[in-house]
Point group: C2
Chain length 207, copies 2
DNA sequence: CCCGTGTTTGACCAAATGGTTAAACCTAAA
DNA sequence: TTTAGGTTTAACCATTTGGTCAAACACGGG
């Protein structure tokens, strides 16, 4: 056997293809991207894409699965932890906004994918270990019963929190126009939201 | 002249094309849609698409402009009205969720469009009369100064409200998986949010 | 009734795109 | 040095897709 192993390990052709596909797919989507563009972006011949990943669909699934596989456990870990409710919400918001700040294209990528091909998403991309929010719901109900927070339906609470964390990134250009902010001002604004959303939620939960 | 005017006015060929394009574009996006599919959907010959709207891009812009042109004034009207703050927020949430309920594909369509082609969006689709949120901001500051609501940064408040209204629709399939809801349960859930989000915001604004 | 103008159609074209293949290439092992 | 097997490339193929065109069609006015 003669494997081409001269280059640094993370720099293999397969990895270069994956990285290029990751960038192109997340920015242009499955339909908008072309194999040629991905090849160019990786600086290699187009046929190599098919050599390593048989079809465009397979390549796309690889990228999608990697993205989802990284995103889900991060959420899951926080939502299922044993922390007291308030601390959990604090950390959830902080971690969620942090992750998205570092990967601003991901939420829209996931949303578009799951909207256009729900079956493919469920069958070949989604991991089996989805977050189970039941424990979080019980926690909320307990706090309500103890009178420590205002009565809210826990499903709505979690959707509210996720919405306030994710949407400003998904709709960033729209928000920028509405608020008349420069790119730099927007970055500061989004960073501020860690604190602002936390306070907003805590205020809403006061009994 | 011999104009084909036998059919009902709103049923003209041009209108049928527009309606078909509206449906296909909003569900599959610019890249995912094909002219043939739009023609089939309208039940006419493909060449007619080019006869009435010269290119795919032009047709797409027509649809996009119509969608945006309908969405923006609805927001603008509420946000710039002279109502007292609390009533304004109430109506805003109620109207916003109502509009999106009736057009669930629109927000994702707009978001995708503005993310992929910001220049085209700004130059040829966006109307000139954007909502001006300044009056709303002043209103919030005044209420804070009078001690009638808790101090919040008005920009964050408006982004919070919009996020909680829009995101559950944009990310509906994701939310369904997270919450384990059927399609019917989800519809009820989204309708409930008019009331729930309003209460949540009001609770967060209590001094 | 027939003509002219706007409308509709099927056939067609060129470019783009996903995918294939055979040959060239490179490297490690014998 | 030879050679076998994985790797890379350029050329090629079939299909799809946006777009065009000339002919056919329908209908109102002369």
């Amino acid at each position: 056997m003669a494997k081409r192993e001269s280059q640094a390990p993370g720099d293999s052709t397969e990895q270069k293809i994956f990285d290029a596909a990751h960038e192109v797919f997340t920015q242009k989507g499955m339909d908008g991207a072309t194999m040629q563009e991905i090849a160019d972006h990786a600086g290699i011949n187009k046929a190599l894409l098919h050599y390593y990943y048989r079809t465009k669909e397979k390549l796309y699934e690889s990228v999608a699965r990697a993205i989802i596989g990284r995103a889900i456990p991060a959420i899951r870990q926080i939502i299922e932890s044993e922390l007291p409710l308030e601390e959990k919400i604090r950390r959830f918001i902080d971690a969620y906004i942090g992750i998205i700040s570092r990967n601003p294209f991901i939420p829209l990528f996931i949303i578009s994918e799951v909207n256009k091909h729900p079956e493919r998403f469920i069958n070949s991309i989604l991991p089996s270990d989805l977050p189970k929010p039941q424990f979080f719901f019980n926690q909320v109900e307990a706090e309500i019963a103890a009178g420590r927070i205002r009565p809210v339906r826990p499903q709505h609470l979690i959707v509210n929190v996720i919405s306030m964390c994710v949407f400003p990134f998904v709709g960033k250009p729209m928000m920028r126009m509405l608020l008349g902010m420069s790119s730099g001002e927007m970055r500061v604004f989004l960073e501020e939201r860690k604190e602002e959303v936390t306070q907003f939620v805590m205020a809403a939960l006061r009994p």
